[in-house]
Amino acid sequence: MKRFLYYPRLYTLIVSQYIKARMQYRADFFISSIGILLESGAGFFSLWVIFHSISKLVGWSYNELIFIYAFSLLAITPSQLFFDNIWHLSSHIRQGTFIKYYFRPLNMMFYYMSEVFDIKGFTKLALGIAAFIYASFKLGITWTFPKFILLLTLLFSSSSIMISLMIMAASTCFWTGEASSVLIFVFKFGEYSRYPLTIFNSFFKLLFTYIIPIGFVAFYPSKFFLRPMETNILAYLSPVAGILLFVLAYLVWKKGVNSWTGTGS
């Protein structure tokens, strides 16, 4: 039990130090937030422009697509807030500074990820929440307590899928020494998760459901709220997929950590 409380307490300590350090560069934080806001808002802009010419996209309305997009933004946010250090793994590996994480009596993944808490992610979160409220208001979705719990569960599993994919992508650098291109590759898939899977042909539908499960990031979970009648059995698998994938990602990471030979300096 003591051990159980130890980690959250440690996390707040490490993160508060990090935030203090970051706050030295207030201007940078401010400009970066605007950058992220534009980057995430660009998708809404695209939808808005596209729906000037059409009224439905394979049977989905503008507001429904906003809902799915907002869902995917919310699902991607935790990976940015809590796991942003993943982008620096390659350089730690190449310069050998990763060695320090072996010497602490802590879970290595926990210690490594706790070192960066990306405050810029809050901008994405705010945008996601605003769009989500807007869309569910426009669509007339009534939020009951069970529905809300369902939403939180689904968001949790969606972000777990995204985080797991990113961890697996970054872990490749334990063997290759460079993972930024693989990370960008996977990160891009997160962006594709904002469209209904039904636009793809059956091959890519299968690919995005079973092999690179980005369908579970936003589309399948959103269907619970948008088209409760049409939800297929797969949607119920979202939480299972989330947990299984994280276990898998952890194993890959663990294997990588154990096989890394260091740089010798």
Binding site: S32, L38, H52, L57, E178
Partner: protein
């Protein structure tokens, strides 16, 4: 002249070290092209063949080539300059007997060659042989060569502005992200400008971004462009190129005064 050619060669040689990198960048681009293929096929489903005067084939080619050009012009000039200023390495480039802007441009050109071989060429093969759009003619291909060169020049100068800004701000992460988004959106690289609402199309017409993607791409996909229209497009690009170049000359003369590098 020879020294600048050497810079291009060096920059090309140092970028091909990351062979593993290029595989994923290329694959990522291919997936993006597949994604827009299906997305726009879905958009065109139920419409009578053409939206806003563009057929599905034209729109698809336009967007697929836009992202290929985006990858081609992705030379990281702004990131590189910011890195140099933070680490102080910029001193080495400043004391070289070369023009700093030209030096950075030669670096960028080396990168463009690398990008062309690794990303743009595979993408072109996929577009032409797998999707077989049949929109591009030899004539339009030849006509679009000069506009693409001018587009690179404009794109480089926009990156260079951001790079010079790092002389003041040092970190440019946010500015660069914002720049990439604005350029992609307002240049028509994500959605063809023909789809924009009337008022927005007018505003975009006054900005330099459309000269990077919209102009060369329009020339590429149109079958019968009149010589008058072609020259008008070239004129717009040329004026932006000269304006941005002049702006950067002025900006550099101001920005260079604030550079401080400690020790060395």
């Amino acid at each position: 002249m020879k020294k600048y050619l050497m810079i291009i060669r060096n920059s090309f040689m140092s970028s091909i070290i990351y062979r593993f990198h290029f595989f994923y960048t290329s694959l990522s681009n291919v997936f993006y092209i597949i994604m827009i293929y299906f997305l726009w096929r879905a958009i065109y489903k139920g419409s009578g063949g053409s939206i806003n005067g563009m057929t599905f084939n034209q729109t698809f080619i336009y967007l697929a080539l836009a992202i290929s050009i985006f990858c081609l012009f992705k030379t990281w000039t702004d990131w590189g300059m910011s890195y140099e200023i933070i680490n102080g390495i910029i001193v080495i480039n400043l004391i070289k007997p070369m023009d700093f802007q030209l030096l950075e441009m030669c670096n960028a050109i080396g990168f463009v060659f690398y990008n062309f071989i690794t990303v743009t060429l595979p993408a072109l093969f996929i577009i032409i042989f797998i999707f077989q759009p049949g929109v591009i003619t030899v004539r339009s291909l030849i006509l679009s060569l000069l506009p693409i060169v001018l587009a690179f020049f404009i794109s480089f100068n926009i990156d260079y502005i951001i790079g010079l800004t790092s002389f003041y701000t040092e970190s440019i992460w946010g500015i660069s992200i914002a720049k990439d988004t604005i350029v992609l959106l307002l240049s028509g690289a994500l959605i063809p400008i023909n789809f924009f609402p009337e008022i927005l199309r007018k505003i975009v017409g006054f900005l330099p971004f459309q000269a990077i993607y919209h102009i060369p791409l329009t020339i590429l996909i149109s079958k019968d462009m009149s010589i008058y229209e072609y020259l008008k497009f070239l004129g717009i690009q040329l004026s932006w190129a000269i304006a941005l170049f002049a702006l950067n000359r002025f900006y550099y003369s101001r920005a260079i005064k604030v550079v401080t590098v400690n020790g060395g």
